[in-house]
Amino acid sequence: MTAVIETRGLTKYYGTVRGVDDLDLVVEKGEVFGFIGPNGAGKSTTIRLFLDFIRPTAGAARVLGLDTRADSIEIRRRVGYLPGELAMYERMTGREMLRHFAALRRLDGLGEAVEIAERFDLDLDRRIRSYSSGNRQKLGLVQAFMHGPELLILDEPTNSLDPLIQQDFYTMVDELQEEGHTFFVSSHVLPEVERIADRVGIIRRGRLVVTETVAELKAKAVRRLELYFSEPVGDDAFAALPSVRAAVSHDGGRAIELTITGSVDPVVKLASRYEVERLVSRDGELEEAFLAYYEEDGRAR
């Protein structure tokens, strides 16, 4: 396996403000790597270091085997990038902007842009100013994909995409991954990337908390389940189950709130012995679930 992205002790401080701290990360060729963390954790900072928009305070990063400082232009020739805060040339039409970028990339015509735009059902002949936020995001994706880059660095790609288009996007990522393209995808919520990512790195307050395969992570994921029964049940039996981390009962034992890691199966089996009126499952958003989990575990690593 070859590393497409490799950082060693990558550190960025803005004055005294922490961006990322001592980041060691390897992304292998052909994998989809999800980079997850709450807003302000340092995701965009890391990505901007890869593209040489900002320069590291310490450490270094190599992208496609090239130095991010010395060989930035070659890196950017071979990388497609979608910014997290997407700003485009408002007075151009979508096609005009793509033509401009295609020319800067010395592509023939518009590269694969037209085909991808059709797939996303995006009208390229309207002014960007008049695009909806979903269409903007589509255009951002089109320009990132248009030159068939070896590596795609996408900062919050499914932001403001409607679910149908998200599916198209996921399918496209799958197809390109099969062709050997590598993805580095950031998000502040896990569900956005768990569908496509092979591995996930969790960043928090500038530090990489953990890197794991999505399968491993799912097994450890924290879910909250609320069970409402027609009769008092009490939480003792549930609290005794191995996957239940915490159980709280309300309403005289009729309502039970559970915090679960791993499989919910034993919980459901137990609950089925009673008359269940209502069942609410919350797949924890990262901030509350995963990070809480790592914090409880004594800040794993």
Binding site: Y14, S44, R48, L51, D52, F53, I54, R55, I73, E74, R76, R77, V79, Y81, P83, E85, L86, A87, M88, Y89, E90, R91, M92, E96, R99, H100, F101, A103, L104, R105, Q143
Partner: protein, 267 residues
């Protein structure tokens, strides 16, 4: 039309530029139209101007009453040493600001720098677009004057007119590349415009007023206006003085490249 950063800079300005051109052409047209009247009433006007304070005249680019009522002195005072020049300068400042700071302010710089484009070329192509479009404005003035010259009997020397045209472009580029450099260093659009405009007005007044006060007369030599106007290009043609302006532009542009290459681009 959008084949390069240079081409896009021009493309972005295509509508606004027409107004800059029309404004300048209207200004110079009206100015020239007044010439026959002024020529007729030279004596009366001369007496009126004699009675005005020197400083007042200096600010309006009419430092020397002897030459004010010659055709070249008149055009010089109205066009090249006052309003006309300032308009061209401000256009250059707006182009210089846009090249880096403007694009950063609108946040489109991220997407631009995600393409395989060096920061050096972003600066240099922005500068080049500023040169071409500023020269276009000065050329329009040149053309209007050449066309009107025989109609109203200005009898301006062609070489002098050409020199003044090149000179006003160089003058504008000094301030334009100053704004370019400030924007490249700071990423701040407001600062780039502010410094450029402040320097323009500051040096304009110093150039006009410093000679009236012996103690600070030498400061006039610190202003780009001095190096443009002191050799009286409209009468005398080209002068080595222009090389000073060109050198300053080169320093500012090199500084802009250096400053932009070494700093972080803001989010």
């Amino acid at each position: 039309m959008l084949d390069s950063v240079f081409a896009r800079r021009i493309w972005e300005r295509r509508t606004g530029y027409v107004w800059w051109l029309l404004g300048l052409v209207a200004l110079i047209g009206i100015t020239v139209a007044f010439w026959p009247t002024i020529q007729r009433d030279t004596d009366a006007l001369g007496q009126l101007f004699e009675s005005l304070p020197q400083g007042f005249l200096a600010i309006f680019g009419a430092d020397d009453i002897e030459t004010l009522f010659t055709a070249s002195g008149f055009i010089n005072s109205r066009m090249y040493s006052s309003v006309g020049a300032i308009i061209v300068v401000f256009f250059a400042i707006s182009m210089g600001t846009q090249a880096v700071a403007g694009e950063e302010d609108k946040r489109t710089l991220d997407l631009l720098l995600a393409q395989p484009v060096s920061r050096r070329s972003v600066v240099l192509e922005g500068f080049l677009a500023m040169v071409v479009m500023t020269a276009g404005l000065a050329a329009a003035v040149f053309l209007v004057l050449v066309v009107c010259d025989p109609l109203v009997g200005l009898d301006l020397p062609l070489e002098g007119l050409f020199a003044a045209t090149v000179g006003v472009v160089l003058l504008a580029l000094v301030f334009g590349s100053l704004s370019l450099a400030v924007g490249a260093f700071s990423g701040s659009r407001a600062l780039a415009i502010g410094v450029g405009a402040g320097a323009t007005f500051g040096t304009f007044f110093i150039n006009g007023l410093a000679p009236l006060v012996d103690a600070i007369a030498w400061t006039q030599r610190l202003t780009p206006f001095f190096w443009f106007l002191d050799s009286r290009p409209l009468d005398n043609g080209f002068s080595w003085h222009f090389l000073v302006l060109a050198a300053v532009v080169a320093v500012f542009v090199a500084g802009a490249v250096w400053g932009f290459e070494r700093r972080d681009v803001s989010v």
